[in-house]
Subunit: 486 residues, 2 copies
């Protein structure tokens, strides 16, 4: 550190060290370089070996191919300009708005007053009631509006939950590795312990109870007060979709060790194989079978409008449901969320429509279903195109797509390539990702951004980009790189 008097109040050595420690690779150096390339291309620069940047680093559906669902956006347009409701004939006869669009907009306006007004801190009551109904239908078990908190996307919900749980530097939270770096970054900022447990790549990235037990035991032995376990299902970055047995095993362990289960279920509609098993539904089934054993399990389950066929991440809408949380603790959560006033109200309205979309027989249903199915089919097609390409690449292994928006292949690089990475001061997976970007304009995230088992290399790519031509660009790049460092 400098010995001269500082010129300013803030410098890199005296700001919050926990913010400094936080890592967030999804929008890091690689992403910044990709934006530079995009800007160069926009200015007509021709020195680059590609004519398009593909942001496969972020699950940002509408930045790429995915179109918004018409019903949702028609309703939102009326919420933003309620004066349009005075011209119903124009809406219906000339703009093609169906009667259920108009009814929904009127109902939502009645519920929130104006989308320009603050709602109650945990969200508008009518919207919380809609979410409770959705959860009852999804899980076949009761849900209550008072336990539901609207948030600005799931990220802000995670931040709230971790703020409550992290009581001291010894507080630990079990986090899957690889993981979406929101968890490790938030725990860094809160100066709490991330207790990593490894997912089982050999079982298509499922949870491995032995790994969880081992991580827990080791952390407790080291003096960590482990209080919660995070599960991302379907997985990010892995794409894994958990079996009901895996979900049960986690709940059973949480019950035994008194851990809060934080179930990040934002990809619950992105499931290609089998079906989604919600933690809430499975927990209630277990409680029914063995009430004494499971009655005190604490669960927070998160969902959002950002992913799935909705894909409205720019609207920052989400919610979490609390199950089994002490009422006094819940009061503190209420107070905490009230400090930031309320989640964006337009985002809340979008959450309502996500959980309560047009039903069969209603005027907007046919188009809604067509759009939904079309988006699902497109994601499925691109996921498998990418998967097939990975299968054919030398030294690349990738499980069959199961869910979420990502594939997370393993790559094996030659000692020569690893030496070249070292020379550049980069980890081998970062070296690979930078090379890929420089050669093709395709931006992925190096596996180390999500945590890696020692001596394994991966990268995460979304399968959101339109078409499948870009998949061929990866194949060619990969072959060239393998040849260069053979």
């Amino acid at each position: 550190m400098s010995t001269t008097a500082p010129l300013r109040s803030l410098n890199i050595n005296n700001i919050n060290p926990h913010v400094k420690e936080a890592k967030y690779a999804v929008r890091g150096e690689l992403a910044v370089r990709s934006e530079d390339y995009r800007a160069q291309l926009a200015k007509g620069s021709s020195g680059l070996p590609f004519d398009q940047v593909i942001s496969a680093n972020i699950g940002n559906p509408q930045q790429l191919d995915q179109k918004p669902i018409t019903f949702f956006r028609q309703v939102l347009s009326l919420l933003e300009n309620p004066a349009l409701l005075e011209k119903e004939d124009v809406l219906v006869n000339q703009l093609g708005y169906k009667s259920d669009v108009i009814e929904r907009a009127k109902w939502l306006l009645k519920t929130v007053g104006s989308v320009g007004a603050y709602s109650a801190s945990p969200g508008a009551t009518g919207i919380r009631e809609s979410i409770a109904k959705f959860l009852e239908q999804r899980d076949g078990h009761s849900a209550e509006a008072k336990d539901i908190y609207l948030s600005a996307g799931a990220s802000s919900g995670v931040s709230t939950l971790l703020h409550i749980i992290c009581a001291s530097p010894q507080t630990g939270v079990l986090v899957p590795i690889p993981q979406y770096p929101l968890y490790t970054a938030s725990l860094s900022v809160l100066n709490a312990q991330c207790v990593p447990y490894y997912l089982d790549e050999a079982k298509n990235w499922g949870t491995d109870l032995e790994a969880i037990k081992g991580a827990y035991k080791e952390a407790v032995a080291a003096g960590t007060d482990v209080r919660a376990i995070v599960i991302i299902n379907p997985g990010n970055p892995t794409g894994a979709s958990l079996s009901v047995e895996d979900v049960k095993a986690v709940i059973d362990f949480a019950a035994e060790k008194k851990l809060v289960v934080i179930a990040d279920e934002v990809y619950q509609t992105n499931v290609f194989k089998g079906r989604f098993h919600s933690f809430k539904g499975v927990l209630r089934d277990m409680q029914k079978a063995e009430p004494e054993k499971y009655k005190n399990v604490e669960l927070a389950s998160l969902h959002s409008v950002s992913k799935g066929m909705v894909g409205e991440c720019g609207h920052r809408g989400g919610y979490f449901e609390l199950v089994g949380i002490d009422p006094e603790v819940q009061e503190q959560i209420y107070k905490y969320v009230s400090i930031s006033l309320c989640a964006p109200v337009i985002g809340q309205c979008l959450v309502e429509m996500m959980v309560n979309p047009p039903k069969e027989g209603e005027p907007s249903y046919a188009l809604y279903k067509q759009e939904w199915d079309g988006i699902f089919a497109g994601l499925h097609k691109r996921a498998f195109a990418l998967y097939e390409a990975f299968k054919d690449m030398e030294g690349v292994e990738c499980g069959e797509p199961q869910g979420s928006m990502y594939l997370f292949p393993t790559i094996t690089l030659s000692p020569k390539a690893i030496a070249a990475a070292k020379k550049e001061g980069r980890s081998p997976d970062e070296f690979y990702a930078f090379r890929l970007l420089d050669a093709t304009g395709i931006c992925v995230v190096a596996g180390s951004g999500f945590g890696q088992k020692e001596d394994t290399l991966h990268f995460r790519t979304t399968f959101l980009a339109p078409g499948t031509e870009w998949v061929g660009r990866i194949t060619k790049f990969h072959k060239d790189l393998m040849d260069e460092f053979r």
Copy 2:
């Protein structure tokens, strides 16, 4: 604490103690009771002595009388449903959308892509450029897009800044008392020191440099590392609008002691007396006059769409501009905001329109100006009606309205009333506020929620509620209370 094994992971004694310590009265017990009354009235309950609840506790314009600005909402409706742009003739000829509405929507869509997509972490580039232009015009000094960060309302911007600044439990931030409790609550959560400095009620709640110096000196003597000073101008809850001399004095002190100035300027258009002096503008003037002395002053200035004639708090749009912040520190701010991905994109678009509204000669200008002036006049009228009523009340003193959306009168209660409050276990100002709510349905916030000088009593009320009839209800209540405890 209980000696039996806990049933759950989380209880009130083992969650984050810093969250527990945080206080946020604006949405506390009184607000909860007012919502109960509202629910009772909605169910047709007739046991209450009033037939309407007036939420004068929150600056929530559109929950009350304030209508949204037409231009803003028309553009937003097109951003939500861009398909409408394919029917320009219907928009123009049958829905009354002017050409500048359509042009702005097209431009914003080009800038953000889709409002359903994440933007860059600090906000969409085109919108940051618009804000820079606005700041240049407002202040007559240059501004750069790279120094501007969009946020989910100003609250989230404050949280970001305090997260960076608060490096240890010894870090202190000077906060005006009375203050909007966001600051004390956030500092509690961050386990940092609030260093209170009292505003000068005798000078209509202006800043008192001697009070600031005294608070600073005392804190430093106690081992606090004071790193920043918060100024709310125009004031919340006080309504004070600072003179250029007051602003200069604060900057001068900040320069001397190397403090970051956090200028909360969300009420910058709510000024009834004199004009608004931005910290940025005054700082640049001072730097021009004495470059050496002021060149390293660090400033963060916040603004939002929530207040003023815009009043769109439910949209959670805001921004802060950084001045003189070390580039390495700015990189950390960039990373920190990227963890929560981006501010709501629709809110970002609203910020753009707030800083770049229709101009004279443009098609939407006449209506925009009429609406803007009408809202301003309404606020002015109600502020003065309330002020006149307070002047006539026994034991109530209130300065002439200057700005923001609040009045903050002093009340003097009799020893008998103070004894009655004590018996109920409440502070006298809370006792007064609960009595007011129970008798009239009008919800205000007790002064203690904002901090009070010893032995002074106040309450904060907005002047947003429609009409002035409710002012008479306060007058009557006050007289009855004074008589009861004489």
